[in-house]
């Protein structure tokens, strides 16, 4: 036993030296960007010594930002989901108080300077309508027994105030008909009257006003009760002052904010964005509509892409020149955050929508113009020798000309003329790429992977809320790279499929991933796409066409009617519908002319309720499996079962005895045969599934043993390959594969899991795991191998089975850059076989690269150039000196 442990420790130490970082490598090829999320509430601290902003966001984050730069000073992340959703923030002199939660309200006071906790108290409630703070008391407005009841609590101690007081229930009639502002509740009643009543005192009369409206919203953070009433596109501002209701009509469609300027005067700030790159502000005195000139401005900035700005908080003061100056924190519908100085300009701008990335693609950059010219020259093979010679001369002349031109500065350098940043060209090792990210705000970003700089952004118009991925309940946006940067005469092309704004149909956005430019913008499709599959062959324009499968099961080809370069093999497509549990397989014939013949259903599988499909795992299309088998100790080969058509389907079903049962089905998507099934009892969320090469990993929380377990499966054909040349799902033998299985304990909780991928698949595989403690763990697959022997090791290099997986801190590749709230990990190969590029997204963005088998194809970073230079020069010098010495000696000998 002891020897076994020692052996494992030794093996661990050997294997773990493979990954991990040296201290001087920190930050060399990785970067991390911290975000806070879409701002919900904010407050500006005007204290000269601090000069801070406090924000509470949709991501359940409370943070402090520097006014001057917008950098995060401190950040605290509350509970995930509705339990931690921040309902209000209340700044005091030394603390910032947040109220969060739904059924359990938690009140926490944070230190303004450092962000640590001062106090915390909590209370249980239900049916909460509104929460507001007045006079240092937290008012909890809730409905109970046909009454609107209000409880008050002392905000800092949680001591319950005077008795609960109530109002009649008809005061409140739905969130869309009512709004609460500054402790006053305004509601439309059936008779078409707007009633405003204060909820601060127990017995109050309601103020009434004849007004018809479709919608009523409160002006956020208003010091007096103020509402915006919309009635058929006409907006009116209703506010209460000195117990009188005042109405002011608003001319422009803009977002308003009220700021107390003097004791009896208020400033009405309005902001709007008529175009994506323009921001217009207006300021006036609320009471008498006097326009304040210094607060009216219009600013255009080409890099800006915003929609529907809204003032989150503001601070105004009087300058020396006796004009009114304001600082406003503006949040927009596309989830960006900016600080606007009035008069003046945008001081800084944060793209907080990057916290909601739903799809990522790393796209290769195009080659530089000079290289492209060379490639073009050699690419043309059918021309004769003379024409080749002429072309060579011509291209060299051109190269010479561009060289002269750049040296003399006559024209801009060739790469700058392409319109993007000058250094956006492919490097030798394919390490420089562009990260194309789609966010749920409908904004697309192109990010440089080497430094995290945003190169371009596009705000999509006419796009509704995203299709919900029924499998995991998250929004989905399928993105396909249809043409990569390798085709010189064409620019790369990427297609995004999204939901239309006004129907269930799909809209398509085709763009160039290098600069974000689109030829036709957002185009409407007359159907809803349920599955999009790329063809295995390119068309004559080097585009990988997509088969778009619509909801009536008829296929379409995009781009349509363009001839293909060769006849594609018959395509098999599967569709999984998690809502009704139906799985279907189709075959689609595509003609060489680019026409699609309708699809035929091949197979069908139904999972009946309450069984639910929760995850589908298929292999990465880019993945190559280098070795076909595994050499055993007796020198025989165990062949891998590599079925490119296999998909893994995870279903979860409630069970009377085992609470919930997790089932893994391995399905052949061509024939519809279930190859293998396995059941895990009492397994619950979080569940993650990965499928790569001939193995699968499935992590789940085991309710019985109360720990996270990772089940590992490996499929083998046996001692002989059943499909020796190409894999065939229909032909060949139908002998089920041998399944090796084993489970491991992970001492922690997983947020996301992903295998590394390299260009040729020679490099060994590692699994990247993001844990809830904020670490990104790199675990060699050898540790999760189901063939880890239980007894004495039979195979060379096999690590004996130990149930608990090691989590050494050296294999945490993000070191102390903690990654909280990870949504996903994206891995892509570089041109170097050893290196895999990793991008982690969630609340923070993190990029790094890993070399699972060490960088065997490039010189090590710590390669000592100095020593090798010194040694060679010494050798050269000594060789020369000794040669001279030898000849001298020979001469002397001759004299003897």
């Amino acid at each position: 036993m002891v020897s076994k442990i020692i052996l494992t420790v030794l093996l661990c130490s050997v294997l773990f030296t493979v990954n991990g970082l040296y201290e001087d490598q920190a930050g060399k090829f990785d970067w991390k960007q911290n975000y806070v999320g879409e701002v919900k509430f904010s407050s500006i601290d005007v204290d000269v010594t601090t000069k801070r902003l406090y924000v509470a966001t949709e991501k359940n984050v409370v943070a402090s930002l520097a006014i001057e730069t917008g950098d995060i000073i401190w950040r605290q992340i509350l509970e995930k989901g509705p339990e931690g959703s921040i309902e209000l923030i209340h700044p005091t002199k030394s603390k910032i108080i947040t109220v969060s939660g739904v059924d359990v309200i938690k009140v926490r006071g944070w230190d303004v300077k450092d962000g640590y906790l001062h106090f915390e108290w909590s209370t249980e409630t239900s049916n909460v309508l509104y929460l507001f703070v007045f006079n240092g008391l937290l008012h909890n407005v809730y409905s109970s027994n046909n009454l609107i009841a209000i409880d008050t609590y002392h905000l800092e101690t949680g001591v319950k105030g005077k008795a609960t007081y109530t109002f009649p229930a008809h005061w409140f009639n739905g969130f869309d008909r009512c709004a609460l502002s500054s402790g006053s509740l305004a509601c439309f009643d059936v008779a078409g009257q707007l009633n405003i009543g204060s909820l601060i005192k127990s017995n109050t009369d309601r103020l009434s006003l004849d007004m018809i409206g479709d919608k009523i919203v409160a002006i956020p953070g208003s010091p007096i009760p103020a509402f915006i009433v919309t009635n058929t596109n006409v907006e009116k501002l209703v506010y209460v002052k000195e117990n009188k209701v005042q109405v002011r009509s608003l001319t422009t469609r803009s977002s308003s904010f009220i700021y107390t300027y003097m004791a009896d005067r208020h400033i009405l700030l309005q902001i709007s964005s008529p175009m994506q790159d323009t921001i217009v502000t207006e300021g006036s005195i609320l009471e008498d509509s006097t326009v304040i000139e210094s607060l009216s401005s219009k600013e255009s900035k080409s890099s800006l892409k915003i929609s529907n700005p809204r003032i989150s908080s503001a601070f105004c003061g009087r300058s020396k020149a006796n004009t009114v100056n304001c600082v406003t924190l503006v949040s927009t519908q596309d989830q960006s955050l900016m600080l606007l100085k009035m008069p003046g300009s945008i001081k800084w701008h944060r793209e907080e929508s990057l916290t909601n990335i739903i799809n990522v693609e790393l796209v290769d950059l195009p080659v530089s113009d000079i290289e492209a010219a060379i490639e073009k020259e050699f690419g043309n093979k059918e021309s004769g020798a003379f024409s080749m010679f002429v072309r060579r001369l011509f291209s060299q002349l051109q190269q010479l000309r561009t060289l002269f031109a750049t040296v003399l500065g006559i024209i801009e350098s060739p790469s700058e003329t392409t319109g993007t940043k000058s250094n956006l060209v492919r490097d030798q090792f394919g390490l420089h790429k562009i990260i194309v990210a789609v966010t749920s705000a409908g904004k697309l970003f192109g990010i440089d992977n080497l430094n995290g700089e945003i190169l371009w952004s596009v705000l999509l118009c006419g796009v509704g809320t995203f299709y919900e991925n029924k499998v995991n309940g998250l929004p989905s946006a399928p993105m396909h790279l249809q043409r990569n940067s390798k085709h010189l005469s064409y620019s790369p092309m990427c297609t995004l499929l999204l939901k239309s704004e006004d129907s269930e149909n799909t809209v398509m956005f085709t763009f160039n991933p290098i600069n974000g430019e689109s030829k036709n913008g957002v185009t409407q499709l007359p159907y809803r796409v349920v599955q999009a599959v790329p063809l295995p062959v390119l068309n004559i324009e080097s585009v990988r066409s997509l088969i778009l499968f619509d909801s009536t099961n008829s296929p379409h080809l995009y781009p349509a009617n363009t001839p293909l370069s060769s006849k594609p093999p018959p395509m098999y497509i599967y569709i999984a519908n998690p809502t009704n549990g139906l799985l279907q397989g189709f075959t689609v014939d595509v003609l060489i002319s680019g026409k699609v013949i309708s699809a035929k259903e091949v197979w069908k599988t139904q999972f009946n309720k309450p069984t639910q499909i929760i995850a589908i795992g298929s292999r990465d299309a880019m993945e190559h499996v280098h070795s076909q088998g595994r050499v055993l100790s007796d020198r025989s080969v165990l062949y891998k079962y590599i079925n490119p058509n296999m998909v893994a389907i995870l279903t979860l079903a409630p069970d009377t005895t085992h609470k919930s049962v997790l089932t893994l089905h391995l399905l052949d998507a061509v024939s519809g045969i279930i190859i293998y099934s396995v059941v895990h009892k009492r397994a619950s969320h979080p569940i993650h599934l990965i499928h790569s090469e001939n193995w699968l990993l499935c992590s789940y929380y085991n309710d019985k043993t109360r720990r996270t377990e990772i089940a590992s499966y490996e499929l083998y054909d046996g001692n002989q390959l059943s499909n020796s040349s190409d894999f065939s799902s229909v032909g060949g033998s139908l002998i089920p594969p041998i399944v090796e299985k084993q489970a491991y304990i992970l001492p922690g909780f997983l947020q996301a899991m992903k295998p590394t991928i390299t260009e040729k698949g020679i490099t060994s595989k590692h699994i990247l795991m993001a844990t809830t403690t904020g670490h990104l763990l790199e675990v060699p697959w050898a540790f999760l191998d189901p063939r880890r022997p239980l007894g004495e090791p039979k195979e060379e290099g096999a690590i004996p089975y130990i149930p608990e997986l090691p989590m050494p801190s050296e294999s945490m590749i993000n070191y102390n850059k903690s990654l909280m709230r990870v949504d996903g990990i994206y891995t892509t190969p570089s041109s170097l076989e050893s290196t895999c590029l990793v991008f982690v997204y969630g609340l923070d963005l993190f990029y790094t690269r890993v070399a699972p088998s060490k960088t065997f194809d490039v010189l090590k970073e710590d390669f000592d150039y100095l020593v090798i230079i010194i040694v060679t020069t010494i050798l050269l010098i000594s060789a020369y000196v000794t040669k001279n010495l030898a000849s001298q000696k020979a001469l002397k000998q001759a004299w003897k």
């Binding site: 201290e23 931690g84 906790l117 009377t656 005895t657 979080p686 043993t705 403690t773 050296e810 070191y815």
Partner: protein, 228 residues
């Protein structure tokens, strides 16, 4: 008969199992919620350190934050068994399992994932005392003289050299010295093979030839002097 009784058993069992979730459902509507308290020993008492440390319950289902004195509170959690972890980017703490039974009794124990029945009691309110700085990096190999000297290649070359040069000098025994000298003398007495053969074939001794060469060289040098 045995078979029959067995069936009855199954029916009874399933009945019980069906009825259990119902009971759970009832208790869930008015479930009791409990607070978990504890303290964390801090490596240093700076306030920024407090802010970057959080306490996670079951991988973040509930969170607690540190107050100035290092104490924390995870409020309003239902009864059950939880793993409480201290999350800090630079330090590693050992997690603790907390069990709250339906009567509200607390029990803290050491986390043992493999043998979950093995109980190693810990104090409650929780105390996170053992911490160590996380070692994220490997240290680079540095070039040292000792590394070079103890290199196997160097050793194989240096040691025989030592054996040849130093060892004979270390020998003080006169008899062995004499023997050694005799050995070397013997070598000198032995005529060189190649010289013997050349003299045999050419007919004159090599020494005579050498002298001839010398005279030639002197002549030529004299000539060059004249030229100058």
């Amino acid at each position: 008969m045995i078979c029959n009784s067995f069936k009855v058993c199954i029916v009874l069992l399933s009945f019980i199992l069906v009825s259990v979730p119902n009971a759970n459902g009832q208790s869930e509507s008015n479930r009791e919620l409990y607070d978990i308290e504890g303290t964390v020993m801090l490596p240093n008492l700076t306030t920024s350190w407090l802010a970057e440390t959080i306490i996670q319950l079951k991988g973040g289902e509930a969170v607690g934050f540190l107050r100035k004195n290092g104490s924390f509170l995870i409020s309003k959690v239902p009864s059950g068994s939880y793993i409480v972890e201290v999350v800090n980017p630079n330090y590693v703490y050992e997690p603790i399992r907390v069990e709250i039974n339906s009567k509200g009794k607390y029990r803290a124990r050491k986390v043992n994932y493999i043998q979950s029945s093995h109980v190693h009691q810990m104090p409650y309110p929780l105390e996170f005392v053992n911490y160590m700085p996380a070692k994220y990096f490997y240290s680079r190999e540095q070039w040292k003289v000792t590394d070079f000297l103890f290199n196997s290649m160097v050793l194989t070359m240096v040691l025989p050299l030592l054996a040849i040069l130093v060892l004979p000098k270390l020998m003080n025994d006169p008899e062995t010295k004499k023997e050694m000298e005799q050995l070397t003398n013997l070598k000198h007495d032995m005529p060189e093979m190649s010289e013997m053969i050349t003299s045999f074939f050419t007919g004159n001794s090599p020494t005579a030839e050498k002298q001839k060469e010398k005279t030639k060289a002197i002549k030529s040098s004299k000539k060059s002097n004249k030229n100058n």
